[in-house]
């Protein structure tokens, strides 16, 4: 399929979900992600799937929990205030080792905040937004094509690691229209979902999906198991993009929408003869620590840029070589605070 389409990022998410075999969607309206439920409410019934507009984001995440427990591919999407409501369910899904895809087209906060693009949900997403000390995989697309490709990847990673996976973007990537090549679903070897509840047909053993472990030592063992999985993810699943980083004297660290703007600023810098590059984490959890180590073996200056007051920069500082310097530039999200390339170019000049 080499067809090219001109679609919105949010639509690309919905299309990818269908291509990935997801037939169950549960959600609640919130700007700027409503294109996703709108698209799926139209398409899923045609595929004998189920679309439910839930009573709340709490309802939606728990419907996802229930559907996922039966072994089907299912998803929900929302934006920051709704994602806060979903944290309870995400913690239970992480604890119950249930796959599921959660899309956050994040918006500015705290509170009702605004509907502008925002990266202020980084901490909430990667540090385990609910209680109990868990992680979920977090993927950060920066283009419509990536919205599509990473959503499909999200379903695979969810099944492979039995974990919730979040696609974290914002209205820049979600509302923007770009060319999209709707690639077919990648062929991945997926584990059998032997753990799923199905009813005890043919006398199969009792299946229990739960996160309560009261026996002596049981919960500790369960948590060691979960954290063992996180270590495997860190080893195998880190993804990042390097852009003009080979000879760079200054490397910008940025993800999602801000990385796009940074690229334009980098080209401006290159035109001015400055060797500047980009390291863009695509997986925010697991964080591409090794990539930062490798880059900073040679390049000693990292300029971390975010649409918030500094969140990912914590992980960047923990990842770089000891003698590397990490500078930060960021603005809290809100109407008018999305940086322009010229502004970032100024920051490049300041630290180069």
């Amino acid at each position: 399929m080499s067809q090219r389409l001109f679609v919105k990022g949010n639509e690309a998410v919905a299309m990818a979900a269908i291509e990935a075999g997801c037939r169950y969607y549960f959600g609640y309206p919130i700007t700027p992600q409503s294109d996703i439920p709108e698209y799926l409410s139209r398409e899923l019934p045609k595929l004998n799937g189920e679309f439910i507009q839930a009573e709340s984001e709490v309802g939606a995440i728990n419907m996802l929990l229930g559907a996922s427990a039966t072994g089907v591919r299912a998803m929900t999407s929302s934006s920051s205030p709704g994602i806060s409501l979903k944290q309870e369910g995400i913690s239970y899904m992480a604890g119950s080792e249930l796959p599921g895809v959660i899309v956050n087209i994040s918006r500015s906060g705290p509170g009702l905040g605004g509907i502008d693009a925002s990266q202020a949900d980084y901490w909430q997403s990667v540090k385990g937004g609910g209680h109990g000390g868990y992680h979920i995989v977090v993927l950060a697309p920066a283009s419509v094509q990536e919205m599509y490709d990473l959503t499909m990847l999200a379903f695979d990673l969810a099944d492979i690691y039995r974990t919730p996976v979040m696609v974290l973007a914002d209205s820049v990537v979600g509302q923007m229209k770009e060319a999209l090549v709707p690639n077919p679903r990648p062929v991945t070897i997926l584990p059998e979902k032997a753990w799923r509840v199905r009813g005890r047909r043919e006398g199969t053993e009792q299946m229990i999906v739960k996160s309560l472990f009261l026996g002596d030592g049981e919960l500790e063992a369960h948590n060691w198991k979960l954290h063992g999985k996180y270590d495997v993810m860190k080893e195998n699943e880190c993804r990042q993009e390097l852009f003009m980083a080979d000879d760079a004297q200054l490397v910008i660290a940025a993800f999602g929408s801000v990385a796009r703007i940074a690229k334009t600023a980098i080209l401006m810098a290159r035109d001015a003869g400055m060797k500047v590059g980009l390291l863009r984490p695509i997986t925010l959890f697991p964080f591409p620590t090794k990539a930062f180590q490798e880059v900073t073996l040679r390049c000693k200056k990292i300029l971390d840029i975010e649409l918030n007051n500094g969140q990912m920069v914590d992980d960047v500082r923990l990842s770089v070589a000891r003698d590397a310097e990490v500078y930060f530039y960021g603005r809290p999200p809100g109407a008018g605070s999305l940086p322009v390339p010229e502004e970032l170019f100024e920051q490049i000049k300041k630290h180069y």
Binding site: I52, G59, G199, R200, K210
Partner: protein, 272 residues
């Protein structure tokens, strides 16, 4: 002599953790008997809630998904929509269903999800040590209403069976008790009715079972049982509040909800 009363096979042969005289055990047994009689054990998926009945999987010999506190009807919605051929029930306490989970129960009921909800009303939060619940009686002393529930401050006990009967998606709603042999026989009959609705794919069915919590009430099991027959049944009358097979509403009911049973699903189309 032949045995005339036996443990239902859907109930595991293990001792329960329930306190002496707690009727969670009795209600578990009636539900398991209904499961046996309809022969649905092999396709049943239970949804456990948070409360003294959290160990549903320890007692019922069926597959179980554990839901966060109050969310069982939403979890059951996901299970049933994904596996319309299964028999799905939730088992929830009054704190779980009538306080933290009100949004989930009302909307699952209103959508007419083809599930059965067993709601155990013991007028308190048993598991957390007997705090005030939305169902606590006016004047009832609990660990968080030490002067008795005050109607002016805390409102009145909520009657869920009546409330849910109002909703278009609800096919069956009844309140039962297991305090006397007669009420218990009737409870069994209504649980069977509730099951029948789901087995026939006819919509959301709801059973509110009054239950004792001698521990939190601070009385003996026999006194607790007497309280059910007195004060509780007086305020929470037993009976069938909606039975769509018989129901003749004065106002035109909302259009019947199309049930998932009628939908055609390819067998596990997206399962890998």
């Amino acid at each position: 002599m032949p045995q005339v009363f036996k443990r239902p096979v859907s109930l595991k042969d293990v001792p329960t953790h329930f306190c002496p005289g707690c009727q969670h055990g009795t209600i578990h047994r009636l539900v398991a008997e209904a499961m046996d009689e309809f022969g649905v054990r092999e396709r049943t998926i239970g949804v456990a809630s948070v409360g003294c009945s959290v160990f549903l999987y320890g007692y019922f010999d069926v597959d179980v998904v554990e839901a966060p506190h109050g969310r069982a009807p939403a979890v059951a919605t996901g299970v049933k929509r994904a596996r319309p051929d299964s028999f799905v029930f939730t088992y929830q306490g009054d704190g779980d269903l009538a306080a933290i989970g009100t949004a989930e129960i009302i909307h699952a009921a209103n959508r007419g999800e083809d599930i059965t909800v067993i709601f155990v009303n013991n007028t308190t939060y048993g598991m957390t040590g007997g705090q005030m619940a939305p169902t606590t009686m006016v004047g009832q002393k609990t660990s968080t209403s030490p002067y008795g529930r005050d109607r002016a401050k805390d409102g009145s006990p909520i009657r869920m069976a009546e409330l849910l009967a109002q909703l278009g998606g609800v096919a069956f709603s009844a309140r039962v008790a297991v305090n006397t042999p007669k009420n218990l026989m009737d409870a069994k009959k209504q649980i069977m009715n509730a099951f029948r609705y789901q087995v026939e794919g006819k919509g959301f069915s709801f059973i509110e079972a009054l239950s004792t919590c001698p521990t939190a009430w601070g009385v003996t099991p026999i006194q607790a049982n007497e309280r059910i027959g007195g004060e509780l049944i007086e305020y929470f009358p037993l009976g069938v509040y909606k039975d769509t097979a018989q129901w003749k509403p004065r106002i035109a009911p909302p259009a019947p909800v199309e049930q998932p049973g009628a939908r055609a699903f390819p067998e596990f189309m997206n399962e890998i």
